[in-house]
Amino acid sequence: MVLDIIIAGLINGSTYALLAIGFSLIFGVARIVNIAHTAFYMVASYCIYLITQKLGYHPTVGMLVAVPLVTLLGLICYKLFIDPIREHEAAVLIGTIALAIAIQEIMLLIFTGDYLSVPALIQGYFTLFGVKVFHQQLLTFVAALIILGALRMLLMNTKLGLAIRSTAEDREVANLMGMNESRVAMITMGVSVGLAAFTGAVVVPLTIVNPFMWMHPLIMMMAVVVLGGLGSIKGSFMGAYILGFAEALVVFLIPMGSFLKGSVALSIMILVLLIRPEGLFGIAFEEER
């Protein structure tokens, strides 16, 4: 039972971590709350569905095509809809919501509301300490760790990473120092959407594809990011696993109540915020005067 919970928690947590890292990145750097983040994840899932089910290629081909395609789409949307209104935070929130709804409707038009699914990258399962684990789930876990490592390397060891970090800390001063702040924001947006697409590619065989699939991960992702602290990647990572374990605990300890797992996770988030309003590792924003 304990093993079940640990393994389920790790796997749930990895899914949320993958989503949350991208979301946290764009918020930390450009102060954009990209509600359409999971909508891009959905577009990637549909791309992969198209390539694997309709065109018949292997899922890896689907991944290789979907990720750049969705990243490009994300950048175009950013340039057209978000960049012009970046100054008004409220407008950005609404704009990304409207964007997510528009994407949902387009998917609904093209693919109708039927439930679809995608084959796994690696089929089959194996048994770990008596618990059955899909290969795909293990892949998700490994991918989360790899992405975290790669991102850390990007941020710490490259010039681009330095630019991103300094823009995240203080936009105006970074601009003064000669970094093209809007270009950095655009690159970060690209990385963020790319991460969302990659998450879609890795996680989608475990879930059902339909035009409304973006809402539930959105809520969990936001809970994770808020719990861990906005703008902190380490925080998002930790928050993802905490909430992942919380969900696994609920499912295993209360079988009749497994529909409550969302509510429980959110309640934990609120409790943590009561004690520490910036989240676990978050940065408290000084109000700009």
């Binding site: 929130l93 704009g95 038009l109 969302g262 915020l273 005067r289």
Partner: protein
């Protein structure tokens, strides 16, 4: 007879000097007149239904603006107040057999309580943290609703509620008059001392606190007031639809409210009201193309945000009125000199 004439002349003078000088006031005046006199011209039940629902949502959107626009507490879970108001009114009506004029205010009080409950954890949160936390509350409540299907009716909701009134026209008048009254009250609140403090809290909370004002109390007050009005909207909705279901708590409802308010212009009470009256019938209009409806809605929102980020109504208002540089009184845009102090306006 003379007395009547005197009051009529006085009324006309007030209208001429206060209302007719500014196009925005004329529009509001005509709008109220049109709404109140509509049933004289047409009694099409479909049209009346749309306007009743629009009025209910207008109260809801205006209440959001009171909290998130004026006081700056971004509330992404406004559907919570709506749902709590609807469910409380429904439960009171069904089990305690209270008529609608009793259950709706009590439902609103229930929503006030909810406002206190969520206001307290939100006191220390700012900006996006606050927005995302408030998003969580309706979801938690929805989980509770599903967990107690005996009381709340689960995903079916509570059915068999009483009507507001027998005929569609009476329903219409009740809702529209209530909407005008409540929105006027909200407007007056924002103009009062409390409203100024709310606005100040939005602009710079630290400064307000250093002036000696207890911001905690005022923030909680904002939550409660906003909850009260939204709760009334919820009760009206439950009694009009005669059903109170979990669809009132959905995330999409919260998002819808925020979209309306920001579209119409936040930090104005008239903005969200105008937005709902434009967007909701628009959405119904688009019924001719059922597949493209929501898509067109989303695109309209995106376009408006690109070209008018402050909101539609403030943009329109800025086009038809200008502020005098000397005395700060608003004038119609075609004037060359201010009507009060005769200073030149470019």
């Amino acid at each position: 007879m003379d007395i009547v004439g005197f009051y009529l002349r006085k009324f006309w003078m007030i209208v001429k000097n206060e209302v007719l000088v500014l196009p925005s006031r004329i529009i509001v005046f005509l709008f109220c007149l049109l709404l109140l006199l509509l049933p004289v011209f047409t009694q099409d039940p479909y049209l009346l239904r749309i306007l009743i629902l629009t009025s209910i949502f207008a109260i809801l959107a205006a209440s959001w603006d009171l909290l998130s626009g004026f006081t700056g507490q971004m509330n992404f879970g406004h559907a919570l107040f709506f749902g709590v108001g609807a469910y409380t009114a429904a439960l009171l009506n069904l089990h305690a057999h209270l008529p609608p004029w009793g259950s709706i205010p009590l439902g609103a009080l229930g929503a006030v309580l909810a406002g206190l409950i969520i206001g307290i954890p939100c006191l220390r949160l700012r900006g996006t943290y606050l927005a995302l936390t408030t998003l969580a509350f309706p979801i938690i409540l929805m989980g509770i609703v599903f967990a107690l299907p005996g009381i709340t009716g689960g995903e079916l909701g509570i059915t068999g509620l009483e009507r507001l009134a027998r005929s569609r026209v009476t329903n219409y008048y009740i809702t529209v008059v209530l909407m005008l009254v409540l929105c006027t009250i909200m407007w007056k609140i924002t103009d009062s001392n409390t409203g100024i403090i709310f606005h100040a809290i939005r602009e710079d909370e630290l400064a307000v606190r250093s002036s000696g004002i207890n911001t905690t109390r005022y923030k909680l007050l904002a939550f409660c007031l906003s909850g009260f009005f939204a709760g009334i909207a919820g009760g009206l909705y439950a009694h009009f639809m005669r059903i109170a279901g979990p669809s009132t708590l959905e995330v999409s409802m919260s998002f819808q409210i925020v979209i309306w308010a920001v579209f119409g212009g936040i930090v104005t009470i008239y903005g969200p009201i105008g937005a709902v009256f434009i967007l909701y019938p628009l959405l119904e209009f688009f019924r001719f193309w059922p597949e493209y409806r929501t898509l067109m809605f989303a695109i309209v929102i995106l376009l408006i945000l690109l070209y008018m980020p402050e909101g539609l109504l403030p943009w329109i208002r800025a086009k038809i009125e200008t502020e005098c540089p000397r005395c700060k009184i608003r004038n119609i845009a075609t004037r060359k000199t201010c009507r009060i102090c005769a200073a030149e306006i470019e």
